[in-house]
Each structure stands twice: as structure tokens, then as C-alpha cells.
Symmetry: C3
Subunit: 380 residues, 3 copies
Amino acid sequence: MPVLLAPDRAPALSELLRAADTVGLGCGITGAPDAGALKIAGIGSLGSAGRSEISFLSNPRLQSQLDDCGAAAVILRPQDWEAYQARHAGAPPWAAVLCPQPYLMYALLAQWFDRHRQAGLPKGIHPSAVIADDAELADGVHVGPLAVIESGVRIGAGVRIGAGCVIGAGSSIGADSLLHARVTLYHGVHVGARAILHSGVVLGADGFGFAPDPRTPGAWAKIAQLGGVRIGDDVEIGANTTVDRGAVEDTVLGDGVKLDNQIMIGHNCRIGDHTAMAACVGVAGSTTMGRRCVIGGAAMFGGHLTLGDDVHISGGTAVTSDILKAGRYTGVFPVAEHAAWQHNAAVIGQLAQLRKRLRAAERQGAAGTAGQPTNHKQDA
Amino acid sequence: MPVLLAPDRAPALSELLRAADTVGLGCGITGAPDAGALKIAGIGSLGSAGRSEISFLSNPRLQSQLDDCGAAAVILRPQDWEAYQARHAGAPPWAAVLCPQPYLMYALLAQWFDRHRQAGLPKGIHPSAVIADDAELADGVHVGPLAVIESGVRIGAGVRIGAGCVIGAGSSIGADSLLHARVTLYHGVHVGARAILHSGVVLGADGFGFAPDPRTPGAWAKIAQLGGVRIGDDVEIGANTTVDRGAVEDTVLGDGVKLDNQIMIGHNCRIGDHTAMAACVGVAGSTTMGRRCVIGGAAMFGGHLTLGDDVHISGGTAVTSDILKAGRYTGVFPVAEHAAWQHNAAVIGQLAQLRKRLRAAERQGAAGTAGQPTNHKQDA
Amino acid sequence: MPVLLAPDRAPALSELLRAADTVGLGCGITGAPDAGALKIAGIGSLGSAGRSEISFLSNPRLQSQLDDCGAAAVILRPQDWEAYQARHAGAPPWAAVLCPQPYLMYALLAQWFDRHRQAGLPKGIHPSAVIADDAELADGVHVGPLAVIESGVRIGAGVRIGAGCVIGAGSSIGADSLLHARVTLYHGVHVGARAILHSGVVLGADGFGFAPDPRTPGAWAKIAQLGGVRIGDDVEIGANTTVDRGAVEDTVLGDGVKLDNQIMIGHNCRIGDHTAMAACVGVAGSTTMGRRCVIGGAAMFGGHLTLGDDVHISGGTAVTSDILKAGRYTGVFPVAEHAAWQHNAAVIGQLAQLRKRLRAAERQGAAGTAGQPTNHKQDA
């Protein structure tokens, strides 16, 4: 069950909407005269919200969930509110909050509740943290228990460093960034402002670079990785995601990049602004990705590739060559009942041969029915 | 080499079998009169076990490994023992332990040795741990060095918290759970009794939720994740696996769920009781999985899907639509020598066209050999 | 931007080449008489290196990048230097360093700069580390802040243990190994000499072993994992990679094995010497891999498989049966524009049927054009 505010700290609905609407969406409360005074302690879904929660209808197809909704208030578009009224005689038990973009308003409300929660978190430098004498911490920096900040680190104003984080020598973190517990930055890693780094993130581990070792046949000699990692502003990186340092130059993530959990970005990669990747994606070394790309979960990218701007890759797809043109790309073997898969997969290894046989059958057919055209390009 | 008990602490075979057999399988020792007094310091495989180890035959096809087995004792089914005797004149150098279910008896013995090892581990609260004043720790809780327990946490009786763990504010852990070193729970994460959480596990990181930011074209606005994580009893979660917190409601793992290493469970997912997933599986947000599902390694699931009970997914399969019917499902491109793969994969991009051409060839053939039936459904 | 040495600590070019060339490649400096005295503070790429950096040309196709190169010196093969001179009238602004193997010389230089950086790192045992009284630390061991070393651990000479590492009871680490921050070794894990373990690595978590629990239908009983992990010399393991302990015997990595980030090696696996795996690979339990295998990123291996020596698996390939013969193997669904993929993927589920229809069409064609041979093996 989500954590709710204590009743005495819950804001009134009208006050909450005003405080949360930082982008000027504008919301109107419809309902009983005192609806604006309802105390709102949290957000719930249409199906589960209780009398102290606000909910929202963002997908008009879920209209029917309004019928049983037990929330104090529901955010919805004016046209959905009209549709509700057309279907119901009396007033609903919830106050209607009319808003042109309910999902965005929900996002703003969620941010408000999260800011409220964060305001209650501990502040200052925990005495158990180990901080190098020459590290520079700006005003209002929080360092949690048992964090380690090495020599030459620079931390911007308002940054929160969670418990057990390790910030390597000479690295830097921009203002108002949030590092959850147990994030690791190696040396020479530079993170911009307003970053959110989740637990288990590792930035700046060595890229995977080896050359054949001339002294031992079959053995690999390590190529020390001398570059760093450079991350723009407004980047979020999910739990246990790793971004390796560059071999010679830096590995670079642009502004507004969003990485989900368990992603691996290889050395020397350059990821364009506002590109978002769902969980479990792997990007091999030296691949460049454009701006505003959207990468589905568990997609995999070979090394030294180039992706253009606005390329969307479906989840589970392996990309092994450049994709320069914007659009959506997919390569996934369709799932089937196991026995059916076995039958069909067995044919995969004969496809080139089948194509040849089809060609021969076409020729025979053409010979057998002379004069009938074959309406396709010949291929082999 | 596995760690063995010191000789003076090794139990006698008969005593060990009695102590380990907590489910009443019943085992009979056959062999020399003093076989029950043999000292057993550990468990070994048939091929490697030494004179102070017990081994087991669970797969009858491995019968031949009994011939060279150097173990002190071997657990096997009565019928396999008879088969051995039929093939050999003399008595083996090992004592035969007759048991209807050797693999289960092995599991029980392994648990016994593990309990014995754990009994020797340090107890109590390590002075270097950082524990909030208002955290509630029940009797017999162990907290390892440099662990952090934040405000409002509740820890059940007999729980072991490993070195370097971080337990976020307001979270709770049920009795007799075991957290290995360096596990992270965010705030508002609730774990049931008898859980085993391995190193690097992260529970409760933010789900991956964004809405288009109206202020910057192409940019993403974060949707704060206000739900929590709720995990049933008897759950095991492998190293570096992550389970994200819900957006509004909780992400839920049922009782007896077993997750291997490096798995990612997205926000709002609900995983049914006793479902087991092998390593590297990814489940995108808001997907619901039934009870007793078995998911092979590296299988991937899209978001907002529903899987029924008793669905088995083969390793490496990408699931992109609902699967409600119990059974086994697969979708994996068959591996082949690279050159053969290249030839056949090149045809994949022409399959729709080939189907069309086959249809045309069938028509031509039918025209050319009028009267011969075509014995299939036409498709395109 | 990569970290460079301060100008007063940068070595002269001739001195640097002599110190770095530990394998006797032999490099000759061509250029102005005082070229050997140029101060070199770091390594840069041909496109970005500045006046205090050395660069290298390893791929002759990048010759044209020499034209605008701003480096102090460039390592290149004699024949590439001749080609440059043939294309240019005057001397370049950089000193030419002639070397038969520029990429290897670059690797050696990178190692030199990295050794130089490491020489400046803190030494000794940080007072905040928690070290068991009976742990044995050889000479010159460094233990970073807030690391934990449990009972009975043995650490070889010159080992560096990073901040926040946890070394479990009875484990051992060979001489001159480097553990970056936040590495976890469970109990009974043995690592050879000169290992490099990156942040988030977990060695020795429980393998994923369960038997049906006879007391609860559908439930799983844990099989305690009593084996350990044994890792040879000269092994590197990337960030957040996990290697599980064996069920009965040890999980084994041979000498010179190189694992990239986010890899999962299941229990009881045996990986042969000098085998290298790119990121995100998963190997299920009890699989044996030969020597000098090369595994592409995100390849996945079923359990209980055997791979021979010198097997190369392409990235993204799922391996579900033994591969004993050396060579390269692939199994990846080709990526395509989404609409094209949809059309072609829909045919996958009909392949067995299409093969049958083709066979029928061939028979009809043969009947219609009697006397024309069909030149292929019949399959169904």
C-alpha cells in the first residue's frame, strides 16, 4: 500500500492543485461547494483509491471504472466528465477536477507528493561518511551514512548522496542531483545537474578492451581505459545500470537521457539528448545514438554502429548495422506453443534451400502452363 | 573445493540422516555393520566425492559413475541398488543409503550442512552499523558491519542483515529472513518471512515512468513513483536482481516466488505464488503473471501483459502478447554455423513475398495439372 | 575529457616509449631533432589529440585523419608513414613514431599511464575498514574505507581492496589483484593473482537450485549451495557481473578469462582459459565452455551444455545445444522496419505448412511437366 501523508499534513484539494500545477495547466473543481476543502493524502488508481486520495482518468476507455470509484476526487477531461454525466443521473461521490491533460496533471501531483516526502528526509553530512579533505561540497549538500567521497571531488549545491555511495577521485556531480543508496562513480566521472542515479548504478568502470597478448598465445592484454564518463543535465539512470568509461575519449550521455534498470552502455558510446531506453538494453562499445531515440527493453546493439535521431527499436530486437532513418524497427522471433515452434523453427535452417526450390517449381509451373505470367521479381 | 566440516565436528552417517530428514523420507543404510558410524564431513558428486563425503544417484542413467565412486556413502533408490548389485559381484567401497527420493534427500542434507555453517556465523548488532533510533528490531536480529537501517524500519525475529545493506525508511522484513551483504531496500518496501535476498539486490527503485514534458519538445517529465514493493513469504531473490516500486499501487511478488540473478521486474507487476524465473529475465511494467509459472533464462516480457497460471516460457523467448492458457511457449531463432545462418536469415525478409509466390505457383500448378486437388487452406 | 598528467609530471616522448615498451616492440622516433624531448601528458585519438598527447594509427583506412591531426606524436607502421609522406610534401606537425604494431604499443602506453595514475592512489589500511582478527593480509595490501574482511580471509601481497568491498569468510585473493569499490565475495570464493574485479561484482551467491517441495503442491524447496567459486589468474570481471557458487563442486573460471559487465555465470559452470565474453551474456548452470571461446554480447546459454575450444558465438544468439566444433555460430532474427517485420514474422508460424505446400506444388509441377527432374532432397 502506498505511503500516504498523515491526515494532519494532507493539503486541501484546491491548495494541492494550485501548488502542484507548476506548468499552468489550469484545473477546475466541479462538485459540492466545499469540494475544494477535501483533504488529499495521496494518489490512487481508479480501482483502488480511497476517500483521502485523488485519482485520474487518462484513458477514456476506462470510463466504466468511474462508476465504482471511491476516490475523493478524480481528474478528467471536460469531455469525459460530460460523458459521465450523460450516463448518470445523480452526482458522483467524488469531486470532478476538469483538466485538459489528466495524465500530465497526475505526473505533477506525483511530483508534489514526492517533493513533500523528500523534504522530510535527513539533511547534512552524516558523521560516518568518509570525505576527503580536498573534496568541495557546495551549500546544502546531503551525504548519507557510510558514503565515501574521494580526493578532488566537486559536489554541486543541493545534491543528495545516499548511504553507501562511493564517489571516485576527481569526479563531479551537478547541482540538485539525487544519488540513491549505493551508487558508485569511478574517478573522472562527470554528472550534470538534476541527475537521478539509482542504487547499484556503476559509472566509469573500465571498458572491455583487449589486444592479443604477444607473450602468450590465446591470451588477452588489457587496454587500460583512460577516458572518463560525461553525463548531461536532467539524466535519470536506473538501478544496477552500468556506463563504462571511454578508452581514450569519454563515454557521453546527452541531456535528458533516461535509462531504465540493468542497462549496459559500453565504452566510447555517445547517446543523444532525450533518448530513452527501457530495462535490460545493452549497447556495445563505440556506438553512437541520435536524439530522441526510444529503445524497447532488452534490445541489443552491436559495437561501432550509428543510429540517427528519432529511431525507435522494439523490445528484444538485436541491432547489428547502422539505422540512420527515423522510424520503428523490429526483429523478434514470434512466440508460439512449443510444439508449433519446434515444427516451424526446424524450417528456418532450410529457408535458402526452400527459396531455391520455389524458384524451380515456378519455372516448372511456367513450363507446364506456358503463357501464364509470373508476377514477381526473380531472386535466386 | 567445497568447504567441509572439521573431522571432529563431522556427524556419523546414521545421525546425519536422522537429523536431516525433516520430511520423513526414511532412509536405510546397507553395508558393513559399522557403516552408520562413518563420519560425514560434506557432500560430493559421484565423480569427485572423497572418503569423508556422502554422494547421491538421482539420475539412473549415471549408474556407471557408481563403479569408480570414492564416497563414504551413496544415496540411491532401492531399484538402482539392485541394479548395481546385479552388475557387481562384491560389495562396493561405499555404504548404500536406500531412499525413495535421493534428490530430495540430497536437498535435505545440503540444508543440514548449510544450517550447520550458518550456526557458526557472527550474531548480534555490529557496532559499525548505523541504525535509526526509531527502528524496531525484534529478538535475535543480526545486523552486520556497516549496514544502514533508516527511520521507522521494522525487522522481524531472527532476521540476518548482511554487511553493507541499506534498509530504507519505513520498510519491513519478516521473521527469519536472510539478507546477504549489500542488499538495498528503498523506503516503503515490505518483505515477508523467510526471504533470502542476495547481494546487489535492489528493491523499490523508481519505476520507469515519464510523460512528454510540455515545456521542452522531445524531453521527458518524470512521473514520481509513489507506490511501494510488497513481497510474500518464502521468496528468494538472486544477486543483482531489481524490483521497481509501483507508480501508484505496489509492485507485488507472491509467496514462494523464486527469482534468479540479474532479473528485472518493472513497476506495478504482480507475480503469482511459486512462480520461478531463471536468470536475466526482464518483465516490463504492469505485467501480471499467474501462479506456478516457470520462466527460462533471458526471457523477456512486454508491459501490460497477462500470463495465466502454469505457463512455462522457454529461455530466450520474447513475450509480447497475453498468454492465458497453461503450457509451454517458445520463440527462439535457432543457432547455426554463421555462414548457414547468413543464407537463411537473408530469406526472413522475403517470407511474405515467398508465401505469395508459392500461392501463385500452386495456382499455376493447378492450372497445368487440372483435376489434381490442392490439399491445404489458401492463405494469401 | 580524459585526465592528463600535470605538465611538470609529463614524461619526454623518448623516455615514455622506453618505459612503456615492456615487450620489446621497438619504436623509432622520426621528426625534428628534439622530437624525443616532447612532453607527453596523455593519449588522444587522431581526431581529438592535442599538443601534449600522443596518438596512433592502427587502422590504415583512417589514414586521412592524419592530415588534421593535432597530436604531439603519432605511432604508425613504417609503411603507413611512407604512404603519408608520398601524399604530403612537407613534414607533419607531429613526430612520427614508427612501430610494427601500433595498437599493441598504444595498449602498452595506456598501461603505463594507468600504472602512473594508480601509483598516486592511497595506500594502507583505512581505519574505517572492518577486518576480522584472523584475516591474513600480506605485505603491501591496501584496504579502502568501509570495506569488510571477514574471518579466515587470506589476501595476497599488493592486493588493492576498494571502498565498501565485502570479502566473505574463508575466501582468498591472489597477489596483485585489484578490487574496485563495492565488490562482494561470499564465503569460500577463491580468486587468483592479478585479478581485476569491477564494482558491483558478486562472486559466490547461491546457485538457482530447487526441488519440488513435498509438503506444498507447487512450492519449491531450496537446495543449499555448498560448493564455492574458484577463479584462475589474470581474470577480469566487469561491473555488476555475477558468478554463482556451485551446488556441490565449485564453479570454475580458468586463467585469463575476461568477462564484461552484467554477465551471469550459473552454478557449476566451468569456463576455459582465455575465454572472453562481452556484456550481458547469461550462462545457465552446469554448462562447460572450452578455451579461447569468444562470446558476443547478450548471447545466452542453456544449462548442462558443452562448448568446445575456440567456439565463437555472435552477439544476441541463444545456444540451446552442445557446440563442439570450433567456428562461428549465429542465431539472430534480422532487424527490419516494423511493418516489414510484421508481414514476414507472420509467416514464421506457417513455415512447416509452407514447406509441405511447396512439396505438393513440386509434385504437381513434376506431374504437369513430366520428365523434368526435381533436383533436391525431398524433406516432407
